[in-house]
């Protein structure tokens, strides 16, 4: 990882406007699909400006939680407030979303990045070559994006989302099924973004990964919030049986 180059490039990734979105409050938020409660009366508040990790077993509603935050899904009832306002921001694209399964355009690697410029129309351009270099994809820049390996696709997906210059970055299991090298690249980027003041909400199943990157952890189970603690408390003092079962590999 070329950290010095990365940091220089980061300056350009900085949000165009610094918008304080904290605290992010879920107020009695529910999502019901076909009479099935996916999220059930969630009440929580995210206050820390670091990395918040969402954990929980399969079907807990972690990805849905993230998609509701991003506006991809609309809750059945309840609401989210951002810094006590109903709207995160009037400006578009203050959030970026990295999907578990990368959604890449049927274009070359570089064209996937160019697309963001054409859609967003930012005047201050980011050096795409440098971004590609950071995630070790410079050699593949003219290859069709869908011919990349899963790890490469996910790295491309991450840097493409950074072209939005987000204030809030939502990542839905971005390292699931990736090899340790690809995982490390993504984690390094996330930690660097955190240092820049970008709020990160990260879904993962990986306990070791949560230990490495989390500052606070929200634990969901069956659409309900079980715990919201800082990392140290979560791993050493959680009173919840569900959390203990999860950490012990039973849940």
């Amino acid at each position: 990882m070329h950290l010095d180059k990365f940091n220089r490039t980061l300056i350009r990734i900085k949000p165009e406007k610094n918008i304080n979105c904290l605290p992010i409050c879920f107020k009695d938020l529910s999502l019901i699909v076909d009479e099935r409660k996916i999220l059930s009366s969630l009440n929580l508040s995210i206050n820390s400006d670091d990395v918040t990790v969402i954990m929980g077993p399969n079907g807990a509603g972690k990805s849905i939680f993230l998609k509701i935050l991003n506006g991809i899904l609309t809750p059945t009832s309840g609401c989210i407030t951002w810094n006590n306002k109903k709207q995160f921001s009037d400006t578009l694209n203050t959030q970026a979303f990295v999907f578990q399964k990368p959604i890449l355009l049927r274009r070359s690697v570089i064209a996937n990045l160019d697309y963001m410029d054409s859609v967003l129309g930012y005047k201050k351009k980011i050096s795409k070559d440098r971004l590609l270099e950071i995630v070790q994809l410079k050699k593949q820049k003219n290859q069709p994006a869908r011919m990349l390996s899963l790890g490469e696709q996910q790295r491309l997906s991450l840097i493409r989302s950074l072209m939005l210059r987000p204030n809030l970055l939502l990542l839905d299991e971005p390292t699931a099924n990736l090899d340790p090298a690809s995982t490390k690249i993504i984690e390094d980027i996330i930690l660097n973004l955190k240092m820049m003041g970008i709020k990160i909400i990260f879904v993962t199943h990986n306990i070791l990964q949560a230990k490495r990157i989390a500052d606070d952890i929200i634990f969901l189970n069956e659409g309900k919030m079980v715990e919201h603690l800082n990392k140290q408390e979560f791993f050493s003092n959680s009173k919840s049986i569900e959390v203990q079962n999860y950490l012990n590999g039973i849940l």
């Binding site: 998609k67 506006g71 979303f97 999907f99 959604i103 355009l105 049927r106 274009r107 011919m147």
Partner: protein, 235 residues
């Protein structure tokens, strides 16, 4: 048997020597079908993409109607266009019955539902794949449509070629609205029908061979596009 062999020999001779009559008929056929295709693509791709990204009450019924129009009988289209363009018809004042323009209108009506229905399906499938990405970007419908059309371009070219194939091979509608007038509205399919009935087999055969070659060319292009799509994982 010897007669047929001789007919083939004469037919190839007509093609090789670029017979003026044959050339005139082939060029008119290509012109009519290409213009009809352009009209069909403009209407079909625009409406197809709008339909692909829109949700509205009664959408299912609209899709059923459009899909049914893919199987429109050409002679019925020919009859309808004839009635509209004849002197006592709604558009009789245009005086275009028995002209290439009337043939273009008839072919456009036949090809458009094909291009529209197929392009709608292609674009909708792609939109389903991209939709969460678009939602996360919060971009406009127009930007979404532009992206989808560009990314589906290889498949859409295949759709257009299928429409062209249908247009150029069509005989029922163009003979009704074109009238098969020599040196004016005579195209390959109508000429083949006429010359065969008149016993001029070499001429009909020459046109038939060219029509087949065009069909082979179109299919080769479709295959080439499909292979390109797969090769570059755009598909």
């Amino acid at each position: 048997m010897i007669e047929f062999v001789e007919a083939f020999r004469l037919a190839f001779n007509l093609i090789i020597t670029l017979d003026a009559n044959i050339l005139e008929i082939v060029l008119l056929s290509l012109k009519v079908s290409l213009v009809a295709l352009i009209v069909a693509c403009l209407v079909g791709f625009s409406l197809g993409s709008i339909l692909a990204v829109s949700k509205f009450y009664g959408r299912g019924i609209v899709l059923i109607i459009i899909n049914s129009f893919m199987a429109l009988p050409p002679v019925v289209v020919g009859l309808a266009v004839y009635m509209l363009l004849s002197k006592s018809g709604m558009f009789g004042w245009m005086n275009i019955l028995y002209t290439p323009s009337a043939m273009i209108i008839a072919q456009s009506i036949i090809i458009t539902p094909i291009v529209l229905a197929l392009s709608r399906q292609v674009i909708e499938d792609l939109n389903n794949e991209y939709s969460e990405f678009f939602k996360s970007l919060k971009i406009s419908k127009l930007q979404i449509i532009k992206t989808l059309i560009w990314d589906a371009r290889y498949t859409l070219i295949t759709v257009a070629l299928a429409g062209f194939g249908r247009g150029i091979a069509e005989v029922g509608a163009v003979i009704i609205v074109g009238g098969n007038i020599n040196h004016f509205t005579r195209v390959m399919t109508t000429s083949i029908a006429l010359e065969t009935s008149m016993g001029n087999l070499p001429f009909a055969l020459a046109l038939g061979i060219i029509l087949l070659l065009i069909s082979v060319l179109i299919n080769s292009l479709v295959m080439a596009f499909n292979l390109t799509t797969k090769k570059y994982a755009f598909g």
